[in-house]
Amino acid sequence: MPSESTVKVSGFDPSTALMVRVREGDAEAFEELVALWQDRLITLFLHHTGDHSTAEDLTQDVFMRVYRARATYTPSAKFTTWIHTIANNVASDLRQRAYRRKERGMPVNGSASSSGIGLDQIAVAASGLLPARLAGRTELQAVVQQAMLTLNDRQRMAVLLAKFEQCSYEEIAAAMGISVPAVKSLLFRARDQLREALTAYMDGGTS
């Protein structure tokens, strides 16, 4: 897999430089772009949907959209923001599909929004781990994953872009098509909700 440092940069960041080559019909550049971004997107969608195969499908969907829209890409737009916007749109489409299926009374699969996990359940799960306090990373991981699924889709996307993609407020706002204050609001509420979900574990861990 090519690292970002091995990619030729001609005044742009590596991903942008690759995308410019993709726009010009360079298939090899597209392959490099996929290799560069695949793991990042799968991670993003895995924690967004809670399902690995759905995450892989959504990642492929993102690359399909990137390829189809290659002609419209302008290097003035930072590739990172562009692909985050596409990822957010793909996640939104998934949410809308799930909503429509729910309205029609069909089973919803793969989406975290349908997990129906409540804070009380998280608290029980977390407190169940407390006595041991030896809960390893796997248990902590499970608790945090469950806590993430209590957030709504937009809060979760904002948190994931911040944590895994190191996006600033402005970058999250651009990717999600909302204002910076709205991003702050999303993160503020997400923090409160995650804190509430993880209280038992965090208190137990620090006591």
Binding site: M1, F30, E31, V34, A35, Q38, D39, I42, T43, L46, H47, H52, A55, E56, T59, Q60, F63, M64, Y67, R68, S92, R137, L140, Q141, V143, V144, Q145, A147, M148, N152, R154, A158, V159, A162, K163, F164, C167, S168, Y169, I172, M176, G177, I178, P181, A182, V183, K184, S185, L186, L187, F188, R189, A190, R191, L194, R195, L198, M202
Partner: protein, 144 residues
């Protein structure tokens, strides 16, 4: 893009949110480190490229092919539309016209039944009287 009303209800100042998302999330930020980073299987890149190529082949018709198909579609559509309109708007058969057709057919049949003249050589045809300057008429004296 739709926005949930709840996202905007709260007035969040910069101080509330912190300077960056990490400080906004506070102590929760560190807890999120527990979330694993996923790695795609080795075959994933090839699989993605294959799917994208397949999709591109399926969806991407070249502009020239697309315009050619559009032109053919337009012609066929116009033809079918014209035929349909013609069928709807064409007047019914006029009985008067049919009567005349019968009359014409009857006359033609009668002509066919008449004996034909034997063919004559061209030079035996009578010459029609020439039209030219007429000889002066004799002036007759008035009756007495």
């Amino acid at each position: 893009m739709t926005r949930s009303s709840g996202d905007h209800d709260l007035n969040v100042s910069a101080a509330d949110g912190g300077d960056d998302p990490a400080s906004a999330l506070g102590d929760v930020w560190l807890a999120l480190d527990a979330l694993p980073r996923s790695a795609a299987p080795p075959s994933a890149t090839a699989s993605t490229i294959e799917i994208v190529a397949l999709s591109a082949r399926r969806h991407a018709l070249s502009p020239s092919t697309r315009s050619w198909l559009a032109a053919v579609g337009l012609v066929v559509g116009a033809f079918l539309g014209g035929a349909a309109i013609g069928r709807l708007t064409a007047p019914g058969v006029d009985p008067g016209v049919l009567e005349q057709i019968d009359l014409l057919r009857e006359r033609l049949e009668r002509l066919d039944r008449q004996p034909r003249l034997p063919p004559r050589p061209f030079n035996e045809w009578e010459r029609p009287p020439r039209r030219g300057p007429q000889p002066p008429r004799e002036i007759q004296p008035p009756p007495r």
